[in-house]
Symmetry: C2
């Protein structure tokens, strides 16, 4: 099993960062505008990505953990084969004037090229999350930064 891990700091209180990762409305502000479902323990959160109006990808996650101002943990239950069963985690902590996110997309079966693509995309989405919390405007899909021929 192999993991993507990233670390980013956001100049905002823990509670505002937590809200942006723990709620459907929050996630829609930085990952993809087409985020739906119920972000409650045991609930399912769905995300849909389009390019030029055409569907490019769709994933579902079961919410495994919601610890206010501390941790959000999703498990992928539908989506690309490589994502099935993987875990997405956001661990929050305060450090000075920043809220730090230790992000993980864990338990990939192999370090495939698609994982390298996703690692890069996650980094840009975490910067989008920072922009959302610090300025009020993120870059969720379909306004996301394109990084390669896979988008």
């Amino acid at each position: 099993m192999v993991d993507i891990i990233h670390r980013v700091g956001i100049k905002a209180p823990l509670a505002r960062v937590y809200e942006a990762v723990a709620t459907v409305k929050g996630v829609a502000g930085w990952w993809t505008e087409e985020t739906s479902g119920e972000s409650k323990l045991g609930g399912t959160v769905q995300v849909l990505f389009r390019s030029h109006g055409e569907e490019k990808g769709r994933m579902s996650f079961e919410v495994q953990k919601l610890s206010p101002n501390q941790e959000v943990h999703w498990r992928c239950t539908a989506g690309p084969a490589e994502w099935l069963g993987t875990d997405v985690t956001f661990s929050l902590s305060q450090q000075g004037d920043q809220t730090l996110i230790l992000f993980g997309h864990k338990n990939w079966r192999e370090p495939v090229e698609f994982m390298a693509h996703c690692s890069m995309k996650w980094a840009t989405f975490l910067l989008s999350l920072r922009d959302l919390v610090e300025t009020g405007t993120g870059k969720p899909a379909p306004h996301d930064l394109k990084i390669d021929d896979w988008n």
Copy 2:
């Protein structure tokens, strides 16, 4: 052993991307302005990072492989303890109008928080590399995007 892997596409010919990763002048345009040494097989490339004029970090790499328009491989021979003995690799290929870079920073001993920081920083430096090649201007340190309390 654990690895950071990223994938990025650059709208430019292979040769221009290769030059940006295989030469000291190229690396100084996207990673850190203070890049020195000799980028030849068996040579040593040194990079130095400052924040507000103060030295923040310094690493040396032995050039293990230089395959024109295909691959660059460095091994870290001096720097932070976590980096010693790790491998930095750039594998290039052409896909349509893009040169794809499959980037790796491999053989970390543990998936420590500093690795999560470096993963995020590498993503931003790869975007800086793309900017350098596509527009002529990258964001090498000290002009790099700050991502957390470690910079």
